[in-house]
Symmetry: D2
Subunit: 348 residues, 4 copies
């Protein structure tokens, strides 16, 4: 109750500060209750609803930090980590090493004769990996839909794809994210270790959990839904069988729409590889004309709402931290479509 009130105050301030002629709901610039966002930010926009973030909204989010405590929501990645099988495998390879440099003898400045009498050396690594592994944020260039392969805002793969990734809405266009975050501990609310395979999280589940947690989703909030899957990640996500058993639980279109259109969620995330339950039921698939990932289509393509994946929510749940400042920055790699191997922060 207390924290909600405090945040509503902040939002009021925000609405005042950001006042820019738009008569929008909940202090947002472009969000409409019952409609959400969509392609409302102009024909050149690559940012989507993250445009809602302002100095005032960031300041309000940071005001939620009263203890200085930080939670690292990133899951560590290595060659053994669970990932969607369609992605490329990953290797971290010692590229230069003290023993290797000494044996290789290719760099004069590393030798005693070259002045390196103190024997300085270094480790560095070559990384081969996918832009969709471990803790991720899906960018608005990730998913396309329809015969023209359109992604967010009508950009097409033909025009804006290429050999080296996408040239519109790649991750370098995702602004730093500083926003209010809310944990929805669905697994905790259902009193299970982790939700079962393909379980569809309902609106009632979310409302029930929020009520039990005494916290609400207000417009502009990052919503993180806990299935419990990340509890099986361990050191490096090596137990593919166990993780895979729960990784297919998540929200469907009904909950996604409710969160975006009725509650104004800024981003939706969870502790699985794909946020949405799968495979989709026929109604969900057909709602976007037939798709294997209708929630992705709805959020990324139609609404311009980013998706957060494999956020480690275990410690937040254990500590019953339900409201926090959520801070996330992506890799600055041009062309990539998702922030990958990230470490989002929850600060309180």
């Amino acid at each position: 109750m207390r924290v909600v009130s405090r945040f509503l105050l902040a939002v009021t301030v925000l609405a005042f500060v950001a006042g820019n002629g738009y008569a929008q709901d909940g202090g947002m610039k472009k969000w409409s209750k019952g409609k959400g966002w969509g392609w409302v930010w102009g024909p050149q926009d690559e940012v989507g609803n993250l445009n809602e973030m302002t100095d005032a909204s960031r300041l309000a989010a940071l005001k939620l930090v009263t203890q200085g405590k930080v939670y690292d929501l990133g899951l560590p990645y290595d060659r053994y980590s669970y990932k969607w099988p369609g992605h490329s495998p990953g290797e971290i390879m010692s590229f230069r090493s003290p023993a290797g440099v000494r044996s290789q003898k290719d760099l004069p400045f590393t030798t005693p004769e070259g002045g390196n009498t103190g024997i300085t050396a270094w480790h560095s690594n070559a990384i081969f990996m996918n832009d969709n592994v471990a803790t991720q944020i899906d960018g608005l260039g990730h998913i396309t839909h329809g015969p023209k392969n359109e992604f967010y805002n009508g950009f097409t793969s033909d025009e804006w794809g290429g050999d080296f990734g996408v040239r519109k809405a790649d991750v370098t266009t995702i602004p730093p994210i500083v926003a209010r975050g809310v944990l929805v501990d669905v697994a905790g609310f259902k009193n299970v270790e982790a939700l079962p395979s393909s379980y569809e999280i309902t609106v009632a589940d979310i409302e029930g959990a929020l009520k039990a947690q005494n916290v609400d989703v207000t417009p502009g909030t990052v919503v993180l839904l806990r299935t419990g899957t990340a509890r099986y990640w361990g050191e490096n996500g090596r137990d593919h069988a166990k993780i895979g058993q729960h990784d297919s639980a998540g929200i469907g279109l009904t909950a996604a729409k409710w969160l975006v259109e009725e509650k104004g969620a800024l981003m939706l995330g969870s502790d699985t590889s794909g946020l949405e339950y799968g495979p989709p039921k026929p109604a969900d698939s057909q709602a976007v004309g037939g798709s294997f990932i209708p929630v992705h289509v709805y959020l990324l393509v139609q609404q311009g709402v980013h998706i957060l994946e494999f956020n480690n929510l275990e410690q937040l749940a254990a500590d019953r931290v339900y409201e926090f400042a959520y801070i996330l920055t992506t890799n600055a790699i041009r062309g990539t479509v998702a922030g990958t191997t990230l470490r989002p922060l929850a600060l309180r």
Copy 2:
């Protein structure tokens, strides 16, 4: 004057809150004026002086944010970007694409017959890159020194290296960094676009710049020294000649020691690939027994102080933002020795 006072107040609070029996200088747990840190955190420690961060210090740093304004200090990376030639090259390769998936015909669920009548598809990328490119933080496992190839805290490459990176002090052990940051605009103070090749930044330069900026380095501060090199980065760091011309400017051992031992800097960083000027003069090289990167040896191996590289300080300088909350999280890739392609934030 104003900002310094405010921060000193915060530091006082911090010292009080963190009071833990150590009689240390400047509210720090283990820092000694005239000595800095070193291997003082116990034989198993992999964190170094970032152990100084506490709830109180993070809270104090966040209190510096009064406007909610965010600066992205990351430099975008792609196949053309400038890097130290000893590192592996980088490629971002479209791994799956709408056109490629359709031509490849290897996934039944992507076909109309498989239910995908709405034609959903996706872009993803395979990344081949080095763990030391674009905006970085050097981890304590990066540099080794001496005949036993020791890195920080006496861990040796023999014992803790391997085929897949390092197994002590890799980047997954670097905690989220939330700390007070200070910009030292050396190029601005010297009234040049960028410092010349191999220029050694002196203590006088730093003191002069700090005085002109009316800000000070207090114990626990992240210090970012601006050479001006990042102004030539542009879209992707493609102008190797221009960047290379200034990239060798930086601090030497004298300034590094002064910042760590006299001022208690938590981390040292700049807008170049290596922080320190190079090649080192004989005195600097010999001070660590003969080395091509004595400042790296001093900071990473001997002091347990992390190094920040290629932080984009241009907008901070242009806006005369000299004090801020610095927030940085690394990639969560086991074995890697440096956070790579990062986007640190300066918040004020």
Copy 3:
């Protein structure tokens, strides 16, 4: 004179043996003087004019071997090697090594406790490279032409490309090549170390060299044209400036057509990265409707004739070996469009 006679005899035998109802020129199945080949091998063919090879032709080629002497025509490749800048860079990375395995401690069977008391270990490498580096054979799926992106035999990139290379006419469809080979030492004939930049080898050059060498191109012959460029390759092709200076010399459309249509050459190759001189003169470019590599379009797309690149012809020239059995097998990597880092053999 002697060798020519011997080969003509072989060809006669071949024509007799291969006699199969086609009334074709020079003992070939489908070649027509003045026309060459083209898409003459049926709508599903992925092999092109290498279909001309038969047991008899291979046997005839092997009969040229009278001494058992072997020439390795491959140029060694590593991270420093010259390549066309549009291709991906290459790294050979120690993936597992005795020191790395011992440090990594991830494989119980490598430890003394696991029975490895004799301390067996191994080196292996991860390779990141392009399918168009060092000594190559361009496959018929390499080049496309026209608005439909057609390659040989009308296969289109839309239908037969994909995320993982090409699915028609990839290198796995290239049969083992065992054929008569002829060296045309153009640089030797012109009495230069290497042909100058962009030099177009003329029909007169080739006829002159063949005459001086007392050897002829008969139908079914692999023709290797020496520019002298490979003499600058050395250990690993590291002198990019020197190699690049001569690498643009080669044949144009006139010589290519003469060799294929008048002489029945089975394949055309040289000691450069691209066989043809470049950039093309307007007449050559316009002959295929406007192209930056008209000889590639002509040979690979229109004629179904493979191209050999960066064959090391230096020792053959030094030893004045002008006729030989040419043996080449490609990598067996599905999807790749060129045999790469190969070692063709010339046997005599």
Copy 4:
């Protein structure tokens, strides 16, 4: 009988031609019956017993070709292919493609305005793979043994390894192989589809098969032992379970020693990933002081005899081709320890 006689004649000629003062067995330069080879080629040698090949031996091998028929012994490789799990995974990635180049718009010469009115484009691929996949030849730098990590001829990993592979006895030092080859169809002799898991091929098995095939191993012969495993490879070795079930069958030390020391085999190969049965019985392991791959230690390190792996012997067996000319060239990639994704030829 006939073929044996013919080859013995050839060997006699060879012995005469190669006569060089050594009084060695079977026409070999350095082989001793009951002892084999070993480190007998001088302290700088990186070639091992492939030094036995001469113009005369190559010529004799090629004389076995009487029909001009060629067998491709390579197994095609892609991202799905079976491999030893300790090796790095493989990806073939479309690096440049007609659609990608057009979308990427980074190369002026590919545009109509740049002269490319005929719309020429190309496919190329980036390859990430291991140097030990699909059809291979193990180089003499692959395996090390003992506390000093010695490989063939006493070269040590410390001295001759490094970050970029090995610098002694890498694959570029393997000469082109042209030699007499003999198939030993053990699976056929035992009348099974494929040998069972961990089956140790005995000397009696080999002698029985050779007798049934009416062919013998003479000094200088490449010996290929068929377990039948390759019959399950199919298009790309995707059925890991089935392949893995038979892949552990092979020879032990007894058969290896007999073939090398009593018969003078030039190389030993099979149609599995590792030639030898596994895991080794205690006696075999202890014979080299305790090892998980004693046959590799014996052949590569102690004898200087190369190993051939995953040679596809199915068609040879089906056609009952037991004696042939074996021709193999490796990739020319410096530092790599095994020829990989090769296509050896059997010619008859």
